[in-house]
């Protein structure tokens, strides 16, 4: 298989990256104001959003909404890893949301990991974006997450599985915005060169187009009966 790959590469002069199959369902929970489930391969995350809702006085911000993100692991209580991910997701959401439109209110996003098979942070980001959209919160742009892994030989693997992440030398996750495909957040692990970082960003930007296209299709499908 691998050799065949090499030949095709020569013929086409193309390189290829694949994203695992992905799926999304919006508005699947009855209680939250917005909810979504996002699946990338076997990785699956469920998201629920409440807001704009009442905010605790101690957390009130006078000129914008207070954004809270909670990530619930499947086993055990949230630890440092979840806290770090929460922060990544929160900062991305804050950047995309027009939170000044709902001052003194709270927006809370809860993410439940349903299955982790690699690229978890990017799946969280995607689920978050779909849930925020479902909740009808005002956003300046959309965002999506793309994870790239660099294996020991220096090849880039997009949307890696847990095994691929384990075997890799570095793993990077980027949040990309939909307006100009710029990087909104990045989270990296392992060592890599500047060149590799640039490559990964370029690849992620390319991959984000596919994801945004998917967002559009899934929203279109959702509204297909009310048009």
């Amino acid at each position: 298989m691998r050799s065949r790959l090499a030949t095709t590469m020569e013929v086409d002069g193309l390189s290829a990256f694949s994203l695992r199959e992905f799926g999304c369902e919006q508005n699947l929970l009855s209680r939250p104001d917005g909810s979504s489930s996002f699946v990338q391969g076997d990785t699956s995350v469920l998201a629920g959003v409440y807001g704009p809702a009442e905010v605790k006085i101690s957390k009130e911000i006078y000129d914008r909404a207070t954004m809270e993100v909670v990530i619930q692991p499947k086993v055990g209580l949230p630890g440092v890893k979840e806290r770090a991910r929460e922060q990544c997701v929160r900062e991305t959401c804050e950047a995309a949301l027009l939170s000044t439109l709902h001052p003194r209110s709270s927006l809370s996003l809860v993410l439940q990991v349903v299955h982790d098979d690699g690229s978890l942070l990017s799946c969280c980001l995607n689920a978050a974006c779909m849930a925020l959209m479902d909740a009808g919160l005002p956003m300046g742009c959309l965002f999506c997450g793309v994870t790239c892994a660099i294996d020991p030989e220096g090849h880039i693997v997009t949307d890696p599985t847990a095994q691929q992440e384990k075997d890799s030398r570095a793993v990077m996750t980027f949040a990309i915005d939909s307006a100009q495909h710029r990087v909104m957040m990045s989270s990296t692990k392992g060592s890599f060169s500047v060149n590799e970082l640039q490559q990964c960003i370029a690849v992620s930007q390319r991959a984000s187009e596919k994801i945004f296209q998917f967002y559009r299709e899934s929203v279109r499908r959702r509204y297909s009966k009310t048009v």
Binding site: M1, S15, E25, S37, V114, E153
Partner: protein, 437 residues
């Protein structure tokens, strides 16, 4: 966050309806809502939908030192979590009264009833035993969390497989799933909680109260029972006075419900086992029902091609070096929505089930749409002619195509409706209506 208060008119309506032996969702007094049990990719992962209430359970294990007074017994640890996703009043990490109550009930239902053989979990007496941990997450609160949680927990335990261990001398080896097949837990019996809500000082009772019904109820009786009609725990809360007869009647109802639910769990486990065997891989939970209303959409793969002109200078370098080592050929397109073959299967199943029940509307349980989702073996399909793929594989890919698949499901699922989504929906509707007229 604040919860929307219950208005007087809702309260009055609910109570009046209960007096007239009617329920808002069209159920009869002793009916459960739909129960759907789905298992995840991992062993021991289970999602239970009870109407709109949704609960996720995950069973895991680790080797720990046993308790000093019980050196040869493994440990069963239960932890129920009210995720803030489930309701605006739940806060992350807060020990609310409800949380404590539910946790205690679950412990009494599962641990104190000795439903699993803890002695078989001993590895080295006094030194190493397995601790089985059950994490239950409430994801959507629409009433009767206890029953949903107990079903999820026991189904998860039945589904779970722990790694096999070997002992040579003093050395304990834990084998990975590749080396030796993981072993199931030995389950003695399956206790399941059944909740009864009492209204107007215990004059009226309802099985499986919904969220709104819970808000107007006076008292709650929870009976945990197994299918051998053995009561594992019983708890009455809310401070209502119940007569002996009432409790006995409840236990009779509970025995019927428990045997039905146990059957359902067994069927779900059986289906999952089959799916795992046939599909080679696993049955996957949470893979969404593609046919379901507009709200969802599952899409297949998308491939990412960086052509030579991809903008960043770096791409040129990427082009030279063939990417992806662990991965297969070049423009890889994973089979469109691998879950879908399984799903068409599941859909037909659910509908059959519904039809069955329509035939016999007197049936106790309204419907239990058990759906097992399968993900069949993943297939790689090449894009265009770039990579050669054998004909047979290609054929399969064609079958997998979402559109064809939807059509198929419509064919054997419904008679009149042109759209499968509509069909599924309609069916449900009809069903709801049934008890009304």
């Amino acid at each position: 966050m604040r919860e929307t208060p219950l208005s007087n008119c809702e309260r009055q309506f609910l109570l009046k309806a209960i007096e007239e032996k009617k329920r808002l969702d069209g159920r009869q007094t002793y009916d459960y809502r739909n129960i759907k049990i789905t298992f995840g990719t991992d062993y021991g992962c289970c999602i239970v939908d009870l109407g709109k209430t949704r609960v996720l359970a995950q069973v895991s294990c680790e080797l720990v030192a046993p308790k000093e007074n019980r050196p040869t017994e493994g440990i069963l640890f239960l932890s129920l979590e009210l995720s803030p996703m489930a309701s605006p009043i739940f806060e992350a990490g807060r020990q609310s009264e409800l949380l404590v109550k539910l946790n205690r009930l679950l412990e009494r239902c599962l641990r104190n009833s000795k439903c699993i053989d803890t002695e078989s979990l001993c590895v080295v007496s006094g030194e190493k035993v397995w601790q089985i941990r059950v994490d239950v997450h409430v994801l959507n609160h629409e009433g009767n969390l206890m029953d949903a949680a107990s079903i999820a927990a026991i189904a998860g335990l039945c589904h779970f497989r722990r790694p096999d261990v070997g002992i040579q001398g003093d050395e304990v080896t834990v084998y990975g799933p590749e080396e030796r097949d993981p072993v199931p837990l030995s389950i003695y019996h399956m206790p399941i909680c059944v909740s009864f809500a009492f209204f107007l000082e215990g004059t009226y009772l309802l099985v499986d109260p919904s969220e709104r019904e819970e808000r107007v109820m006076d008292g709650l009786l929870v009976i945990a029972m197994n299918k051998h009609r053995e009561i594992c725990s019983i708890q009455s809360s809310g401070g209502i006075m119940l007569l002996k007869d009432q409790v006995l009647r409840c236990s009779k109802i509970a025995s019927v419900k428990v045997s039905e639910i146990t059957d359902l769990i067994n069927r779900a486990l059986e289906n999952d086992r089959k799916a795992r065997k046939e599909g080679g891989k696993f049955g996957f939970a949470e893979l969404m029902a593609v046919q379901r209303i507009t709200a969802l959409k599952s899409d297949e793969v998308s491939i990412e091609m960086s052509d030579g002109d991809a903008g960043a200078p770096s791409v040129a370098i990427t082009t030279e070096s063939p990417p992806e080592v662990g991965r297969v050929p070049s423009p890889v397109v994973r089979a469109p929505g691998a879950g879908q073959v399984g799903e068409s299967l599941e859909n037909a199943w659910g509908l059959e089930q519904l039809e069955e029940e329509e035939d016999q509307p007197g049936d106790e349980v309204m419907d239990e749409g058990l759906e097992i989702k399968e993900e069949n073996q993943r297939q790689e399909k090449s894009k265009g002619e770039v990579v050669v793929i054998s004909d047979s594989e290609e054929e399969e890919v064609v079958i997998l195509n979402p559109k064809t698949q939807v059509k198929e499901s419509t064919l054997h699922a419904s008679q009149s409706q042109p759209q499968s989504t509509g069909a599924a929906k309609k069916k449900k509707k009809q069903q709801k209506k049934k008890p009304v007229h």
